[in-house]
Symmetry: C2
Subunit: 304 residues, 2 copies
């Protein structure tokens, strides 16, 4: 049996994603041992009793010391708060990564707090998730057939990128690299804007006369929106704060388009309306094969 | 074996819904015979060869003559064009219904063209559908565990309502009655607005730089939106024209809410943002049981 890819992995933040990473490490034999720290002792002890981790660390220091891979799996704005607390305990050779949904603030925090370790910093984002929260929902297959985006900085070692790529690929993920700026724009469009629209729709409708009745007649369209509005409010608050620039850019374009559709309806310019619908349907049909293939292979969930 | 509920049913417009009604009639033995007319000879002959109908009528006259139930299953704005063409052939005792997604224009057309037959007019709307089009996608189970909304007028016979209620219930649907105005408001909120938002999103994103790449990274949120944007553009053009008032009312409330969320993001008022998200999640969670139960029982599809 060959040696595992890592000796000791530290998972900081043992929620759905951190717990699923730990589960996948165990399933694939990717580490000699996994230690985790979470501010919730309850989540940690669940992680132990579920057999996802080998050690529940009592402090960040205990978790990080001696680890050759540190995975930060806390909400995106908490990453910057965590880095100064762990910098003095990180082994010089350790690779440091995260799973945050926005990359620019993670890299800014790394430049601020880990200037000596930038060659070992490989920010990452698995495009996978679930409406469920917490380590109890952890699933070692969560990353199978999902994309993981790595956004290394100029200083990052090729060897560190390569090792983390193998790590995620072994879990069944497809690993791609792009700049953090591009990542944040793409995710604003494909994930952050749709979630905002869904939250706004459910909130608007639930304020109408008899909101119970509206949900009672909820047709397919509303049902799809409703599912994504079930996500964790605090996590999403952080995402919009951390990615406000790209989100506002695409939101403004969207509202402009919505205003144009409104005019077409109000002024009876219905042939233009049909043209837009046909264009949207064409774009959708063009890519539906890709989408369907992925949907069939992947675990349905609240990717973010 | 008891006599079927109807002697001869005429289905005018043999697409997905008309074909599925025909299939359900046959499955449940609800009629002595089913005749259909469609302006597409191809759809009609498919309906015959699939065994959904007994007769492919060569004209509206042939289809409607002698029928004791006439089901109009054409796009909502085509209903008003069809009524003057069939009025002289309808038997005095025939019940006349439709499956349109907007009820006020159907009732206006009935008052204009069928003033002598209002006691037999029972407008209806099965809240069921599919992204697929045409009679080939017909499915006799389509209405199982779905709602059918009937919007009778003041003149409608109680006996006609009762008979049509039994008709849909036998197909497994849950039949409810409401005023046409209320129906059109509820559907604007639960179906027409969500579809408009989805069309606008897919169209906006497909105009961004590398739209192929955006769909390639499509996360859960976008995938859900994308599915409902695959619907038939001409059908939806008709729906927005026919229901412009209620759609504009709820669209304006939605855009107001989106503007408020935009301000919260732009100004960093993130705690207010989290409050809105929490309220939306609360509303969603409150009704998720209803939604999930229905989703489990019903065929997933593009309800409208």
């Amino acid at each position: 049996m060959s040696a595992p890819l890592f000796q000791r992995v530290a998972v900081l933040g043992l929620g759905l994603i951190g717990g699923s990473v730990a589960a996948a490490i165990r399933m694939q034999g990717l580490a000699g041992s996994v230690t985790a720290f979470d501010r919730s002792a309850d989540e940690l002890s669940k992680g132990l009793s579920l057999g996802l981790i080998d050690e529940a660390a009592e402090s960040l220091e205990q978790a990080v010391s001696g680890a050759d891979l540190v995975i930060i799996a806390v909400p995106v704005l908490a990453i910057g708060q965590m880095l100064p607390l762990i910098v003095e305990f990180i082994s010089p050779a350790a690779i440091i990564t995260d799973v945050g949904s926005v990359k620019a603030p993670v890299i800014a925090a790394a430049r601020q707090y880990l200037p000596q370790s930038l060659s070992r910093v490989v920010p990452g984002h698995p495009i996978a998730g679930s409406e469920k929260h917490g380590v109890s929902a952890a699933n070692g297959d969560l990353f199978q057939h999902h994309k993981v985006i790595l956004t290394p900085v100029a200083e990052t070692d090729g060897e560190a990128i390569e090792k983390l790529t193998v790590f995620w690929q072994t879990m069944g993920a497809e690993v791609v690299q792009m700049s953090p700026e591009h990542h944040d724009e793409v995710l604003a469009q494909t994930s952050h804007l749709p979630h905002l629209l869904a939250y706004a729709l459910i909130d608007t409708l639930s304020q109408q006369g008899d909101s119970l009745e509206i949900f009672d007649y909820a047709a397919g369209g509303l049902r799809d929106f409703s599912r994504i509005a079930a996500s964790d409010p605090m996590m999403w608050r952080d995402i919009y704060q951390a990615n406000s620039g790209p989100v506002l850019t695409i939101l403004d374009r969207y509202m402009q388009e919505l205003l144009e559709l409104r005019s077409m309806i109000a002024l009876g310019r219905v042939d233009e309306l049909a043209e837009v619908f046909g264009r949207a349907k064409g774009a959708r049909d063009h890519f539906s094969k890709v989408l369907n293939e992925r949907a069939e292979r992947a675990t349905p969930g609240d990717d973010r």
